[in-house]
């Protein structure tokens, strides 16, 4: 049940270079949050009419809401100045999350800050499996120990080879898929990251005949389905197409739904 809550910053911690974890007290919001849902943040210090910024829920603990963010522009740079006690207006939880009862072996594929919803998911899924984390370099690989502490096996790939194996994360992904295939197991893919990654994961899900849950990252305005800024062409099971709103009808869609 979405709410517009005045959260209090508890604190933030630097992760790798450019990435931060932000904890806020968000009573009424945090408790209701599901993995894959997001919040819409009114960043303090921007002009009064600056648009809100959407962030996946990285986790919750009681009434504590956890976000993980990368400083990429005006808003996220400004978020960096938040100190404990600062009030932040947050709408959430928004959107539909990942399904929590997978039919197959869960296989998580994260790109950059895409780990955020997957880390939350990892703690809520009934069975543990493998998490693949990709990024340009070591700095873009986050939450590894968090996944491990939850009992997940983590494999890392970086494009520059500064951490894990060198190359795209789709390489270990294909290996994992082959392994599961040999073992006779059906995988179930969960992914969040840049469009290129999501597309690659989706194609593999379709090829493997398994479900692939993709969390889309689209620029948003309202976050609640009112403005039609974040639309995505989608396909129904009967093959007919429709235009969905990533904020309200997503951000998580099954690979087959998406018309890229």
């Amino acid at each position: 049940m979405m709410k517009d809550v005045t959260c209090r910053v508890i604190g933030q911690t630097p992760l790798t270079a450019g990435y931060w974890a932000l904890d806020m007290e968000a009573p009424g919001l945090a408790e209701a949050a599901q993995p894959g849902q997001f919040v819409h943040v009114r960043v303090p210090g921007l002009e009064p009419i600056a648009l809100r910024r959407p962030f996946s829920i990285f986790g919750t603990e009681g009434t504590t809401l956890k976000l993980l963010y990368k400083t990429v522009g005006r808003g996220t740079s400004q978020m960096n100045r938040l100190v404990p006690g600062d009030p932040v207006q947050v709408i959430g939880p928004l959107g539909n999350g990942f399904p929590l009862e997978p039919r197959g072996e869960p296989l998580l594929v994260a790109g950059g800050y895409g780990v955020a919803p997957l880390a939350f998911l990892a703690g809520r899924l009934p069975t543990k499996g493998v998490v693949l984390i990709g990024g340009r370099s070591a700095d873009d690989v986050l939450a590894v120990t968090a996944f491990e502490r939850l009992g997940w096996t983590v494999r890392v790939a970086t494009e520059d080879g500064s951490l894990g194996e060198t190359g795209l994360v789709t390489v270990p992904l294909d290996r994992e898929l082959a392994r599961l295939h040999e073992a006779g197991a059906t995988p179930e893919l969960f992914s969040c990251g840049p469009d290129g990654l999501l597309r690659a994961v989706g194609e593999r899900a379709i090829q493997a005949g398994c479900r692939g849950w993709l969390s889309l990252d689209k620029h948003m305005v309202c976050g609640v389905g009112a403005c039609l800024a974040c639309v995505q062409r989608l396909r129904r099971e009967d093959g007919t197409e429709w235009i969905g709103r990533v904020c309200r009808d997503g951000p998580v869609f099954e690979a087959r739904e998406i018309v890229w």
């Binding site: 979405m2 517009d4 600056a50 809100r52």
Partner: protein, 299 residues
């Protein structure tokens, strides 16, 4: 606080601007929409319309530029999927309509006249984001007159053309619209605008151009409302850059009978209610017992 907006009976002078509040339901969990004077919904035409490719918006100083392109479910889809909720609110529903020909506008109006719960029609003749229709109609007084007359013949619903701001003399349009049978006038729509990404050297919006909204356009809107009020014989619904009660009160003083909150909904969804409370407090503080006492009270 009652206002009669050309036959649309509003219990207070505050509505939301078309396209910024969906069909009411989207924001209903965050805002008590039953407190609004009216709910104005996203623009619709006869058939479903896909709108423009993405990106459809970009943030700019003092507001945003959008080119949604009037995506909508068409008249049938709207009546079927969205009216049931809207009827439960008990609040007048203003439907923003458009078309690519006079016939289409008229047909949309005719069909909506038969939909229970529709209280009035806002004629969008000023959208900068669609190739045909929209702004093309709104920037020629004769085209406005002819279009309004055509729609007038098709419906008895209160008819409120929404005027384009990018004209040298708004009065010509006010006169043309009211003489052709408009019951009220809405102004302003977004200002035609463009943003270029200097690294890619491409327009940021897929549609290339879009419409500027938000506080950046407020002083432009006040000037147009004030000018329109000088010749208007019908009530005016004013919008453009309202972020709090002050901007809304400026519009009322300039000559508006009611106001609509647009872009600000995205940042604070309760802006419309804050505006409402602020107008109430202002009227009390100034010993005025009706919104009408404020309308056009510029000294």
């Amino acid at each position: 606080m009652r206002v009669d907006l050309g036959g649309i009976r509003m219990k207070n002078p505050v509505t939301v601007a078309s396209g910024t509040f969906g069909y009411g339901a989207e924001y209903a969990k965050l805002v008590d929409v039953t407190r609004l004077g009216a709910i104005t919904v996203k623009g619709i035409r006869l058939q479903p319309w896909p709108g423009n490719p993405l990106p459809r918006h970009v943030e700019v100083p003092g507001g945003m530029v959008n080119a949604i392109g009037l995506q909508g479910p068409g008249v049938e889809g709207f009546a079927r999927d969205y009216m049931p909720f809207l009827r439960t609110t008990g609040v007048p529903v203003i439907v923003n309509i458009w078309g690519t020909s006079e016939e289409e506008y008229a047909e949309v109006a005719r069909r909506l006249s038969e939909v229970e719960g529709v209280s009035g029609l806002e004629l969008n003749i000023s959208c900068p984001n669609v190739k045909e229709g929209g702004n093309a109609f709104g920037t020629d007084p004769r085209a406005v007159a002819s279009l309004v007359a055509a729609v007038r013949r098709a419906t008895r619903l209160p008819l409120m053309p929404k005027l384009a701001p990018n004209v040298p003399d708004i009065k010509l349009f006010v006169r043309a619209a009211q003489e052709a049978g408009a019951d009220a006038l809405a102004l302003i729509n977004t200002l035609p605008a463009m943003v270029i990404d200097i690294e890619t050297r491409r327009p940021v919006l897929a549609n290339k151009v879009g419409g500027l909204s938000g506080p950046a356009i407020h002083p432009v809107a006040v000037k147009l409302v004030w000018e329109a009020a000088q010749v208007a014989r019908v009530p005016l619904l004013a919008m453009g850059g309202i972020v709090g009660p002050e901007e809304a009160i400026e519009f009322l003083i300039a000559g508006a009978s009611a106001v609509a909150v647009g872009t600000a909904n995205f940042i604070d969804p309760t802006t419309s209610l804050r505006v409402l409370e602020g107008i109430e407090a202002y009227l009390r503080r100034h010993g005025m017992n009706a919104v009408a006492a404020l309308t056009g009270s510029l000294l």
